[in-house]
Amino acid sequence: MSGTIFFKDRRNLLKRGTVSGTVNMAAPTTGAYPVGGSPTLYVTNLTIPHGLGYPPVFRYYSEPFGDGVVWPPLTDRLQGRSFNPNNLAQDGPGIIAWVDSTNLYLQLFYINNSLTGTYPVYYVLYKDFSL
C-alpha cells in the first residue's frame, strides 16, 4: 500500500453510527406540499431509525442522474430539481435529509411525477457527535 493514511479524531468525526449506509430510493411520485389542491412537489420519503438518542451530525449524497456520479445535495426544494453539473441540461431529483433524536429522514423530490426507477442514496451518521 502506498502513501500515508492518517486520520484526525479530535471531534469524534470518524466514528460512524452503525445505521450509516446506502439505499436505493424509488423515484419521487407522491404529490406533496399542495397549494390550491395541487401538489407543488412530488416526493419519496424514507425514515431510517438510528437509535443514537440524540440528533447526530450527518451527511448525505445521491446519484441523481443515473451516470454513477455521487454528488452532495445540489439543490433545494424551492428549486425543485437537480441539474447535472456536467452538462447543465439533464435534470434529476433533489434530495434533502434531516434528523431528530430517533430517526434520519430522507426525501427525494422533483417538480413532477415523471421520473421512474431508483436512485442510490448514501448517508453517514456520526456517533458521539451531536448537533
Binding site: F7, K15, G68, V70, P72, L74, T75, L88, Y122, V124
Partner: protein, 133 residues
C-alpha cells in the same frame, strides 16, 4: 494504490475510511492527494453565471463520498456550496462571485465552480474522499 474498501484500523466503532486527504503543501494541481487547482472559464457576460467542471482520474476505482473546501487565493477556504446556476441571478457579494462543489464516480473526481468573473480565475480545492460504507 489504496483500496477504500480495504482500508482499516482497529476501532470499536465503524469509522470513515479516508482514501484521500489533500494537503496544502503543493500548488501544482498535478495529482490526487494534493491541493488541486482548476481554472474557471470567463462567462459570456458578467451578468451570467458560468459553470466549469474540472476532472482528475479516480485511481481508487470506487465511488466515494467527497468533502471539499475551495479558495480563490489559496489562503482563505470556504465550505462546499450548492451550485447557483439554477437561480439565473447574480451572485451576492458574500460569495465573492464564486462557489465550489464536487462529486465522484468510479473513474473520475469532479470539481465544479460557478463563477461570475470577467476573466479566468484559478480556484483551489482541498478535498477528502472516503468510503460510503
Amino acid at each position: 494504490m489504496a483500496d477504500v474498501t480495504k482500508l482499516q484500523f482497529y476501532s470499536e466503532d465503524v469509522t470513515d475510511k479516508i482514501a484521500v486527504y489533500s494537503t496544502n503543501d503543493d500548488s501544482s494541481g498535478s495529482g490526487i492527494g494534493i491541493k488541486g487547482s482548476m481554472t474557471a472559464v470567463a462567462p459570456a457576460s458578467p451578468a451570467d453565471i458560468a459553470t466549469t467542471i474540472a476532472t482528475i482520474p479516480n485511481p481508487y476505482g470506487k465511488r466515494c463520498l467527497m468533502t471539499l473546501s475551495w479558495s480563490l487565493d489559496g489562503v482563505n477556504y470556504f465550505p462546499q456550496n450548492q451550485p447557483a446556476y439554477y437561480y439565473n441571478a447574480t451572485f451576492a457579494s458574500y460569495f465573492w462571485q464564486a462557489l465550489g462543489f464536487g462529486g465522484c464516480s468510479d473513474s473520475t473526481i469532479y470539481f465544479g465552480t460557478d463563477s461570475q468573473f470577467t476573466s479566468n480565475q484559478t480556484v483551489y480545492f482541498i478535498f477528502a474522499l472516503d468510503s460510503p460504507t
